[in-house]
């Protein structure tokens, strides 16, 4: 095993690990465990959403139809692309290509910021349309049969909570990526040591997957198709 000869103690090998392989495995495993907590976290909100949707189906469908599917779909494409560039970044790190790594990380960040920008636009539209639950909720269209104002408001509650929490995780992800860019610029990563990139990649893919669930469950199941 090549890593077993690391007695010269590379600076990235933390003192409490016996060898680099153990450290890498521990970091990766740790991120997976963390992602499990995130599944429970988002899963909890999804369960609440499902419970209320079951109870107030017409209102939740009406709310879904009030969302902008084109912006949502664009965001989905943006995120999927960013997962691709993130995977390419990890690959670049794996193969020791520092410039490619930095480039792909930056592109991923740009895509992430694009996502947030589109999200902001959506939120701004909701504000203009008086669809902010609790503080500014007065939709102007007539409500179809079976739809009530309070139940529609509940839909938007969950829309904002779900997409808001997701956006928060995106912002944290962007912070992580920025941190990685900084380290990469200083030459901290190599083919032998790129664990933070790999582990951040896992996180980024997870945030993407959450959106893959959010998009259909919020935007697409409004009975419009």
């Amino acid at each position: 095993m090549p890593e077993a000869n690391l007695h010269e103690h590379s600076p990235q090998l933390l003192h409490h690990f016996a060898e680099a392989e153990q450290q890498r495995e521990a970091s990766s495993f740790g991120m997976w465990v963390f992602l499990v907590t995130e599944i429970m976290f988002f899963g909890g909100v999804f369960c609440c959403y499902a419970a209320y949707r079951l109870r107030y189906l017409p209102s939740f469908e009406a709310g879904s139809r009030l969302l902008d599917v084109r912006l949502g779909a664009t965001n989905t494409a943006v995120l999927i692309a960013s997962s691709l560039t993130m995977a390419l970044a990890v690959h670049a790190a794996q193969t020791g290509k520092r410039k490619a790594l930095i480039a792909f990380l930056l592109v991923t960040m740009v895509l992430g910021v694009t996502f947030l920008g589109i999200k902001y636009t959506e939120y701004a539209h909701k504000w203009e349309d008086f669809l902010i639950p609790g503080i500014r909720f007065a939709p102007t269209e007539a409500l179809p049969s079976g739809v009530t104002l309070p139940n529609l408001q509940l839909f938007f509650c969950f829309y904002f909570i779900l997409t808001g929490l997701h956006a928060l995780h995106m912002i944290i992800g962007l912070g992580l990526l920025g941190f990685l860019v900084g380290k990469a610029l200083r030459g901290r990563f190599s083919a032998e040591y790129f664990t933070p990139v790999e582990v951040s990649g896992l996180y980024w893919h997870f945030v993407d997957i959450v959106w893959i669930f959010l998009f259909p469950l919020l935007y697409l199941i409004g009975g419009r198709y």
Binding site: Y56, S59, G146, P150
Partner: protein, 317 residues
């Protein structure tokens, strides 16, 4: 026994289920004491018999016996299965009120109980009932979650805002029993208490007739029915925008979305407070919501009125 009265271990049993619940409780007490005793006894015995005699002594190591492990796994499993079956069947029996129950309507609010008899008398923090008659309580809250608890009857249920919960009891002995709010509800939670007065049937009818000066719940409901304009759409001959309510209570009602719901207390409450969430199959969804315009007691009175129409024949279409 005087001792049992001086140091009671249980509330005086006041309902038909109390003795059965107590039997289960004392069985469980016996199980607890038995297992606690054998563990404590084993600890004491082993701790003395096998106490360390020299500072560095190492005892022989014992092997695990699968048979032993299986025994003390399966015996408790069978025991808890037995308890589960006993308890669940008791619970199931107690969960459904007998059909001929006398009905009482309860509204909990911070921090008092409003109880109303269908004949009209209203009580605050007190309930008078005749002995030996099954009583079904339909309960709701005006604000937060409360809990309706009568220890002597061994019953309690949370009282929720926005929906009805029900419990029932049949008292066995005249007397006065504690009523407690048993779900923490704010500042005066421990003041939200009262009394249940179980009376002989004769005393009860005397009490009841003394309180009959006012209107019955159904009469109050009829008054509200016209006061809030319900009769403009719900005409008795069905010619208005909404259905006639005569004979409707207890019947199935198809909705626009294809579901069919039973017209029960929950249905009527939802129809009054959130009608647009359940548009009816053959009618335009134009009924306004009365959420916030009437309190829970008024809703219950309207419900009593609608129920009283159940017996009448449907006239016209």
């Amino acid at each position: 026994m005087a001792l049992a009265q001086a140091f009671p271990l249980r509330p005086r049993p006041g309902s038909t289920i109390a003795e059965n619940v107590d039997k289960l409780h004392f069985f469980l007490t016996g199980v607890t004491l038995f297992f606690t005793f054998i563990i404590f006894a084993a600890i004491f015995y082993f701790a003395i018999r096998y106490r360390r005699r020299t500072p560095n002594e190492i005892p022989p190591q014992t092997q695990t016996y699968m048979a032993l492990e299986l025994t003390w796994t399966l015996v408790p499993t069978c025991l808890v299965a037995f308890i589960f079956v006993w308890s669940s069947s008791l619970f199931f029996q107690n969960s459904r009120a007998p059909n001929a129950s006398m009905e009482i309507f309860v509204v909990g609010k911070q921090w008092m109980w409003h109880l109303q008899h269908p004949e009209g008398p209203r009580e605050i923090n007190e309930l008078h009932v005749p002995v030996g008659v099954p009583v079904k309580l339909t309960m709701t809250s005006e604000d937060v979650i409360h809990g309706f608890y009568i220890p002597a009857f061994r019953i309690q249920k949370d009282v929720l805002p926005g929906r009805y919960t029900t419990i029932w009891f049949q008292s066995t002995e005249t007397g006065v029993y504690h009523l407690f709010c048993n779900q923490y509800c704010g500042a005066e939670h421990s003041g939200m208490i009262g009394w249940i007065y179980v009376m002989t049937p004769e005393d009860y009818s005397v009490w009841l007739s003394g309180g009959l000066k006012g209107e019955s719940m159904a009469q109050a409901g009829e008054r509200l029915f016209s006061q809030y304009g319900c009769n403009t759409c719900h005409k008795p001959d069905g010619s208005g925008k909404g259905p006639s309510l005569i004979g409707q209570f207890g019947k199935p009602q198809p909705l626009k979305d294809g579901r069919t719901l039973m017209v029960d207390e929950s249905f009527i409450r939802q129809a009054i407070t959130n009608p647009n969430s359940m548009p009816l199959a053959d009618y335009a969804p134009v009924m306004p919501s009365f959420q916030g315009q009437m309190n829970e007691e008024q809703i219950l009175q309207l419900m009593a009125y609608v129920k009283s129409l159940a017996a009448q024949e449907r006239k016209g279409k």
